[in-house]
Symmetry: C2
Subunit: 352 residues, 2 copies
DNA sequence: GCGCGTTACTGACGCGCGTTACTGTTCGGC
DNA sequence: GCCGAACAGTAACGCGCGTCAGTAACGCGC
């Protein structure tokens, strides 16, 4: 492994000072360098395969050109997060366009873990995924003026966040079911309601029902917990209810796979007996049986937007406190009108 | 954002020199420091929330305490890589135990992209996932003595690699089908055969059949291409064959979801009409319909082992050229004996 | 009581870069 | 022909740390 070329090497070979090399390679417009000198320096640098030493540059310039991506979810949640690769690609993509790099830090058991990332100046800013209300570090970091962007929803924080409009998207999902004629729509949440996103999706569910004057039956909202197993149990619980729903809004595709399972166990067919709409549009949603109607969440774009916002924040540019990306229903095979919707319009069935 | 404490601050408050602070905090055993002084320094450092500046340390010590994780797959492959989160967790976990960090670099379109990571000394080593034969950079990096570990298989390279034994695992998968009595077993690959892993799994498929004296019909090996769609097409092609297989070995769970779809389209039931065994054991495999029998790939452990090996390499310790982790068949609901295996033992049916 | 080893610590250098303040040179206007 | 502005480039400092060579004090043997 031969010696790394330094800026002195470039300077010597180009017949200029190190300062000039630095000016040229950092493309500084405020200093006058003749275009011949510029070209010569750039040529030599390329010839030598010169790249400024990251550590030295950081030390001198005070910036790391690196951002951190902190996964605040539990290991199990990370493992089954089918959109994580896309989100990560989005962040990395945004970073690269500004010549930044991304350090990924899955949350370890101990607290104060990503503090090191910041205190040791490994990164210039953080994107925090799956933020939690009980996370006091985030607030104190952001309060200190350290650039932080939340990827996901969190109530009552001034920290900029990037997300989809969960409430609106959920409303649209349930609207889809209502449009098909369903009036008895149950819901399985994606997660416990302490998670803002889960609570917001429930709110959207209520919005949709109330807008049509359909009474919200609290018993038909059951909590899921990230994985298919929880969906299985939730659906089983729903099927013990006196009035079985004709449609279910499952606020997570992964959980919906469990819901499918519970329905199969009961011998109920989708969508003939029960319509199911999911949320996320994970890569396998289109290959479920039947293909899952769901809400498409633009994971790459969310990651990209979060990265973009963070870079803006680092550069001192204005960043809106909330960036909400559009999410839209993708209709596939798991939703249809309720079976006897023609024989007995849903509006009447309430009287039965 | 108040000023970062430096080692001088710690030194002053502890009443010692900066050198002593450095010795204590880096826990150097070869210099004599009284335990009282040690304790005092540590106390002050903690009090101040002191963490050595990453850039300065890198510049002085020459090591970044950071490793790179390069994703050599195409964006589409990354997006549908259901095991990526686990692998990433594994690497990060290994890194953390040595106080290293992980920079993730999805492969951008342009070539020479991760070279920067190395030339600018952003990282001390690289784990390269999904290596490809046409990757000359890897060879030249490793040839230069730069620490590189491959996560995944690549033929004919001296670079250390971590993987499962694809051939053996595939053999076990097919053995499972043969044990059930199947004799007409088709295969859908996980990827084109230029990918070493795909070729190895085909080899394992052949091994299993040949060991039982079953003739390998070249026409019953069809290439998949990472996504479910390719599985759908592959299975459709297999179903046009004169003799339909009674079982299919699909060398990727994700592709198997497509295979399921094609079988449904034909009105064929799994496992009653066709048994299917997958590969990978993605989180949703157990929630397919029917639950997919598959080969469990220990993704976290693979990531961890790759990270561990890389750290060993960086530290100058010995690293075996190939680390093969065990993968085992997980039987679920998608495999059963062939329907008429009792009425007409498979061995006889060949004469029909 | 002198030398020598051991213990406990420190001063100063340099890692490779960005940047500030400065120097020298050219050129146009009067 | 002189002056100031614009142009082209440079010397030197410091970012915060790790580390080497060195020093001072102390104990111990003879």
């Amino acid at each position: 492994m031969q010696r790394r070329p330094t800026s002195s090497d470039v300077a010597r070979l180009a017949g200029v000072s190190r300062t000039t090399v630095s000016f040229v390679l950092n493309d500084r417009q405020d200093v006058a360098i003749s275009s011949e000198t510029r070209a010569r320096v750039i040529h030599v640098a390329r010839e030598l395969g010169y790249h400024a030493h990251a550590g030295a540059r950081q030390l001198a310039a005070g910036s790391t050109r690196t951002i951190g991506f902190v996964l605040r979810q539990s290991p199990e949640q990370v493992a089954s997060d089918a959109l994580l690769p896309e989100t990560l690609r989005g962040i990395a993509s945004a970073a690269r366009s500004d010549d930044f790099r991304v350090i990924v830090e899955p949350l370890p058991p101990e607290a104060g873990a990503y503090e090191t990332l910041v205190r040791a100046r490994h990164v210039d800013g953080l994107v925090i995924s799956g933020p939690r209300t009980d996370d006091t570090e985030v607030a104190s970091l952001a309060g200190d003026g350290f650039p932080v962007v939340l990827q996901g929803s969190l109530d009552g924080t001034p920290v900029p966040m990037v997300d989809i409009d969960n409430r609106e998207a959920a409303r649209e999902a349930v609207d889809h079911l209502l449009d098909l004629g369903h009036r008895h729509v149950a819901m399985v949440t994606n997660a416990p309601l302490e998670y803002s996103a889960a609570a917001e999706r429930v709110a959207g569910y209520r919005d949709a029902l109330e807008a049509r004057g359909v009474r919200v039956d609290e018993a038909s909202i059951v909590e899921g917990d990230f994985d298919p197993r929880s969906g299985h149990e939730a659906m089983r619980a729903l099927l013990t209810r006196e009035r079985r729903p004709t449609a279910v809004f499952v606020a997570s595709d992964v959980v919906a796979f469990g819901v499918y399972g519970a329905l199969r166990d009961e011998g109920m067919r989708v969508p003939a007996d029960v319509s199911v709409i999911g949320f996320d549009d994970i890569p396998l949603a289109a290959y479920a049986d039947p293909p899952l109607t769901t809400v498409h969440v633009p994971a790459f774009e969310l990651g990209f937007a979060a990265g973009r916002s963070l870079l803006d924040l680092i550069a001192g540019r204005f960043v809106p406190p909330r960036s909400l990306l559009p999410a839209a229903v993708v209709r596939r095979g798991s939703t249809d009108p309720p079976r006897n919707s023609l024989a007995a319009p849903p509006e009447r069935r309430v009287t039965q």
